[in-house]
């Protein structure tokens, strides 16, 4: 059966592990779109592919690492970011990308997310947000909208969700954007910008999850959710991250929200090294480099 599939070629196959296509994601899932946009953005950035390392966590989004023909690491739940930090600090020439989901990055991985943003470790995080823990059956997570139904909130989710752009912007991220799986061209551009940006960049991508989240919230097909994005999303580049909360069936504000300059973690470590080896040189005043508040 695979022979028939392998006979048909797609231009992106050069960057995919074609012996693992078709991927495991459901019909109507947005992950394939996001992966495609990510690869296009990566190619457009011109970064040398041999130096790109992709690290993912656990969940449907986490499976993305297994499909890209790059050095890739499928690690444990929530720990992609510290693993990526080790990779980057030990080999600064690597371009490190973390590709993971909302539950993985913001719940169990939440602590690592805010610390990496605080330190401004040079990495690009693609956070796919499908509002639930898809792989385990759609349970509620820290980004599930208030009152949404899930298998662990059969009467409605009583928890207000995180506003991911606000969270990482407040923690110190230098590039923050949000798109949906429908905004393919904006997303590709954001990915390129985020990859070329020095410091901690995060692109949140809202994605359909028809099989579980959508099914329990009156959007049983991917198409239903893509139509919802088309109807309810508003492009507002430069919006204050404070104001981009998502409510159930409410407006989804997308755009590039933060794009600032801050010394990276490596810059600061180099500053320490300078102090060790050349104490007679005057200390650099980095206050001008600190960003003004968004």
């Amino acid at each position: 059966m695979n022979q028939a599939i392998l006979e048909q070629k797609h231009p992106m196959d050069a960057y995919l592990r074609e012996d693992r296509i078709p991927h495991i994601w459901c019909p109507g899932c947005g992950l394939g779109i996001i992966l495609h946009s990510f690869l296009r953005g990566l190619l457009k950035s011109g970064l040398p592919l041999d130096k790109v390392a992709v690290v993912s966590g656990i969940g449907c989004t986490g499976r993305a690492a297994g499909y890209v023909k790059l050095d890739s690491f499928h690690t444990t739940h929530g720990r992609a970011i510290p693993f990526a930090t080790g990779l980057k600090l030990a080999k600064p020439e690597l371009k490190v990308v973390v590709f993971s989901g909302d539950g993985d990055l913001v719940a169990i991985g939440g602590n690592h997310l805010i610390h990496a943003a605080r330190r401004n470790v040079d990495m690009t995080v693609i956070c796919v947000n499908n509002f639930n823990y898809g792989m385990t059956g759609g349970q509620l997570g820290p980004t599930t909208p208030l009152m949404a139904r899930t298998p662990t909130s059969p009467y409605g989710n009583p928890e207000p969700p995180f506003n991911i752009p606000y969270l990482v912007a407040a923690s110190g991220a230098v590039y923050v954007a949000r798109w949906t799986a429908m905004h393919v061209r904006w997303l590709e551009k954001s990915v390129s910008e985020a990859l070329l940006k020095r410091g901690f960049s995060l692109v949140e991508v809202i994605s359909p999850c028809p099989t579980v989240y959508g099914n329990m919230n009156r959007q049983p097909t991917g198409l239903d959710q893509m139509r919802y994005y088309r109807e309810k999303s508003v492009v507002r580049n430069g919006a204050n991250p404070k104001n981009v909360d998502i409510s159930l069936n409410g407006e989804i504000i997308v755009g590039k929200f933060v794009d600032i300059e801050r010394p990276t973690f490596s810059d600061r470590q180099e500053e320490i090294t300078r102090r060790i080896f050349a104490p007679e040189l005057p200390e650099r005043d980095t206050s001008q480099q600190e960003a003004t508040e968004v």
Binding site: A4, Q8, G222, L223
Partner: protein, 91 residues
Amino acid sequence: MKHTGKKPEPGQVKPSRCQVNILKERCKGCLFCIEFCPRQVLHESPEFNRKGYHPVYADSNSDCLKCGLCELLCPEFAIHIGPVEEEAAHD
């Protein structure tokens, strides 16, 4: 999504030979390409592929703009724009 420009009217753009390639065996029938095509080039076919989905097909007589949205919005890497290839022989 709010539009920033005007869509070309049918007939305003010279139609070129439709160059949408479908990798039928990869299609999972999500219908995104059909939904977002501005020129109704794509349709669901009645046949099945090996996985049991109805793959889409492109109408070669249609007004394809080669906008590329179908290629970008396909989650399965099953569509690409370019010279139409001969269908691969199946066993």
